[in-house]
C-alpha cells in the first residue's frame, strides 16, 4: 500500500491551472471565499464529532452547550471502549473481520472474472456482464427479509460468515466491473508478446497484467472495503448478538438512552471514520471512474 502514494503523486498534474487561465485576482479571491465556505460546511459535522469526543460527559450533556471543550479529555479515547451500552471492542473487531474477509473474498472472485471477461470471448460472456451490471445496482436493504430468512434456515444467521458472504456478494459486481474496465484498457499486444516469449496464462495475468492494472485493483479494494466497513441495513437484521455487530449498528444503541454518552459515540466514530477517509483520499482521482465504472467519460 505504501508504494501507491508516490506513484500517484507522480501521475497527478502538478501545474496549477489558475496560472494559465486569464482570470482577475478578484474572481480568484471570490472562488477562495466560496471554497472556504464549502470546506467548512463539509467538515463541520466531523469537527463537532471531534470536539465532542474530547468533552466530559457533564459538558456534552450540559443544557448550556459549548462549541469547544473547556477541558480536553484525551482519556475518553481509552475509557470509551468499556461503555456499558454495547461491547465496543468486539464491535470494532467484528467490523474489521467482516470488512477484511469480505474484501479478500471479493478480490479473489472478482479479479479472475474481470480479467477473463476483458480478455476472452466465450458464449455467455454478455449474459454474465449483464448479470454484473444488474447486481451492481442492487443493495442488501431491499433483499434483507430474504437474506435473513435464508441464512436463518441455513443455520448461519447471526454469524460473521453470513455478513462476509452478503458484503462480498453485493460488492462483487462493482469490483468486477471496475477491474474489467481496467483490464480492457491494457493493449492485447502486451499479452501476445509475453505469450510468444512462452509465458502461460497465469504468468500473463500475474506478471504482465497486474502491474499495469493495479490502480483499478486498488480502487476496487478501497470501494469494497469502505462499503463493507459502513454497511448497516443487513447487519442490523442478520446479527442479533451484540458482540457480533459492527460499529455502524452498535453505535445506534446509544440513541434514546436516558443520558447518552455522546462523547464516547463521537470518539468511536472518529476512530472508525479516519481510516476510511484516508483510503478514499488515496483514490481521489479515480473515485468517479470507480463508482460509475466508465459510464461517464
Amino acid at each position: 500500500m505504501t508504494a501507491v502514494v508516490p506513484a500517484r503523486e507522480a501521475v497527478r498534474p502538478r501545474k496549477r491551472r489558475y496560472t494559465t487561465d486569464q482570470v482577475s485576482g478578484g474572481s480568484v479571491a471570490l472562488r477562495m471565499v466560496a471554497g472556504f465556505v464549502v470546506f467548512v460546511i463539509f467538515i463541520i459535522p466531523y469537527l463537532i464529532m471531534f470536539f465532542g469526543s474530547l468533552k466530559t460527559k457533564a459538558e456534552i450533556l450540559s443544557v448550556e452547550p459549548t462549541y469547544f471543550p473547556t477541558e480536553f479529555r484525551l482519556d475518553n479515547y481509552l475509557n470509551m471502549w468499556s461503555a456499558p451500552e454495547t461491547p465496543l471492542v468486539q464491535n470494532l473487531i467484528s467490523t474489521i473481520v467482516i470488512s477484511v474477509f469480505a474484501t479478500l473474498l471479493v478480490l479473489f472472485i472478482a479479479l479472475p472474472a474481470a480479467y477473463y471477461t476483458a480478455r476472452f470471448r466465450f458464449p455467455g460472456r454478455m449474459a454474465f456482464l449483464f448479470l454484473v451490471i444488474v447486481t451492481q445496482m442492487l443493495q442488501p436493504a431491499v433483499l434483507t427479509s430474504g437474506l435473513f430468512r435464508q441464512f436463518s434456515v441455513l443455520g448461519i444467521g447471526d454469524t460473521w460468515l453470513a455478513m462476509i458472504l452478503i458484503n462480498a456478494a453485493f460488492n462483487l459486481a462493482f469490483a468486477t466491473w471496475i477491474m474489467h474496465s481496467f483490464f480492457a484498457g491494457v493493449p492485447r499486444e502486451v499479452d501476445e508478446a509475453a505469450q510468444i516469449d512462452g509465458a502461460g496464462r497465469l504468468t500473463v495475468l500475474f506478471r504482465i497484467n497486474l502491474p499495469l492494472v493495479w490502480p483499478g485493483i486498488v480502487t476496487a479494494i478501497v470501494f469494497t472495503f469502505v462499503a463493507c466497513w459502513n454497511e448497516f441495513a443487513a447487519s442490523l437484521v442478520i446479527l442479533s448478538t451484540a458482540g457480533n455487530q459492527p460499529l455502524s449498528v452498535a453505535l445506534t444503541k446509544f440513541v434514546g438512552q436516558y443520558s447518552t454518552s455522546w462523547h464516547y459515540v463521537f470518539g468511536v466514530s472518529i476512530v472508525a471514520i479516519i481510516p476510511v477517509i484516508l483510503l478514499f483520499m488515496l483514490i481521489e482521482k479515480r473515485l468517479v471512474s470507480g463508482l460509475t465504472a466508465g459510464s461517464v467519460k
Partner: protein
C-alpha cells in the same frame, strides 16, 4: 476494442495450449468450440456466478416465496396463504402516507442534491489556490459512515443539549431550542437535509467528471460570440452534462430509495408511522413487529420498484455499450 474481442477465441485456445483448427473449422467445429470455450471460462467466472446466485438472486426468490406464506413470529412456516400478506399490507391504513413519503423523500433528496452539485462542481472545476483541499473535504461525508454522520446531527438537534440548536439560537434564527427530533415532520425534513449532504460528494464528483468532457473550443467560441457566463452555461455546458447527470440521478434514486440509516436514526424513536418510507417500514415489520411474511411482501414491492429503476438505467445510460 471490437477487434480485440474478435481475436479473443483464438487467444483463449492459444492460452490453454489446446490445438485449434483455426477460423476454417466450419460450423460443426464451432459448436464444439463454443462449449469448450464456455468450459474454459467457468473456472474464472464460476465463483462469481455462484456468489451472485447464492446470495443475491436466491434470497430474492426466497423473498417472493415467503411473501405468499404465513410465517409465525418465531419463524415457523405455517403454509401458503396466497396473496393474504399483500392484502394485509394494502389494508394497513398508513401505507398510503408511507408511499407518498417515499416519493417525497426520493424526489426531494435527489433534486436538491443534483442542483447543489451542479453549482459545487462548477466551483471545484475552477482553478483557485486550495482547491485540492476543498475537494478532499467534499469527499469526507462520502467515506464516513452514514450512521455516524446522522448521529452527530441527531445530537446537534437534541432539545436542550444540542449544539445545532445552540447555534440557531445564537444567530437568532430561533428564539429557544426546539426538539426537532421529537416531531415527525421536522425530523423527516432534517433527514432529507442529511441525505442531501451525504449524496453531494458522489454527485459532485460525477458532474465534475462530466465537466471534463466539455470541449474547450466550444467555450472559447461562445466567448468570442459575446455569450455571457449564464448563456454559455445553459446552452453549452449543461447539454454536455446530460450523460453525467443521468448517471448521477439514477444511482442517487437507487441509493436514496434504499437508504435506511438516516431515517432509522432520526425518526426511529418517534411512535407511529408518520415519518416512515417503504424501506423503514420493511425494517419495522422485520424488527419490531416480527412479521417476516408481510415484510417480504413489502420487500417484493420495493424490489420491483428497484428493478424498474435498474431497467431505466440500463436503457438510458447504456453501461453495456463498451463491452
Amino acid at each position: 476494442m471490437t477487434q480485440t474481442i474478435n481475436e479473443a477465441p483464438t487467444q483463449a485456445g492459444a492460452a490453454t495450449g489446446r490445438p485449434r483448427p483455426g477460423v476454417t473449422g466450419g460450423p460443426r467445429a464451432a459448436v464444439g468450440t463454443r462449449f469448450k470455450d464456455l468450459l474454459a471460462a467457468l473456472p474464472w467466472i464460476g465463483p462469481a456466478i455462484l456468489l451472485i446466485f447464492g446470495v443475491v438472486l436466491f434470497p430474492a426468490v426466497v423473498m417472493f416465496y415467503n411473501s405468499t406464506r404465513d410465517i409465525s413470529i418465531s419463524g415457523l412456516d405455517k403454509g401458503s396463504v396466497g396473496f393474504e400478506n399483500y392484502q394485509t399490507l394494502f389494508e394497513f391504513a398508513p401505507l398510503g402516507g408511507i408511499m407518498v413519503r417515499t416519493i417525497v423523500w426520493v424526489v426531494a433528496v435527489v433534486s436538491i442534491t443534483v442542483i447543489l452539485s451542479l453549482a459545487l462542481a462548477q466551483l471545484l472545476n475552477k482553478a483557485f489556490p486550495g482547491r485540492q483541499l476543498v475537494r478532499m473535504a467534499v469527499i469526507v461525508p462520502w467515506a464516513a459512515s452514514v450512521v455516524m454522520t446522522t448521529l452527530v446531527v441527531y445530537y446537534g438537534l437534541e432539545g436542550f443539549i444540542g449544539i445545532i440548536n445552540k447555534f440557531l439560537v445564537d444567530i437568532n434564527l430561533i428564539d429557544e431550542p426546539y426538539g426537532w427530533t421529537k416531531n415527525a415532520v421536522s425530523a423527516f425534513n432534517w433527514a432529507i437535509a442529511i441525505a442531501v449532504f451525504v449524496s453531494l460528494p458522489f454527485t459532485t464528483y460525477t458532474i465534475l467528471a462530466g465537466l471534463q468532457t466539455v470541449p474547450g473550443d466550444a467555450l472559447e467560441a461562445a466567448k468570442m460570440d459575446g455569450a455571457g457566463p449564464a448563456r454559455t452555461y445553459f446552452n453549452i455546458v449543461l447539454p454536455q452534462l446530460r450523460a453525467a447527470i443521468s448517471v448521477a440521478v439514477l444511482i442517487n434514486i437507487i441509493n436514496v430509495f434504499n437508504s435506511l440509516p438516516i431515517l432509522s436514526v432520526m425518526t426511529g424513536s418517534i411512535p407511529g408511522y408518520d415519518a416512515d418510507t417503504i424501506m423503514t417500514m420493511i425494517f419495522k415489520y422485520i424488527q419490531t413487529e416480527h412479521k417476516i411474511d408481510v415484510a417480504s411482501a413489502l420487500s417484493v414491492i420495493a424490489f420491483l420498484i428497484v428493478i424498474v429503476i435498474v431497467a431505466v438505467y440500463v436503457k438510458l445510460v447504456k453501461p453495456m455499450k463498451e463491452v
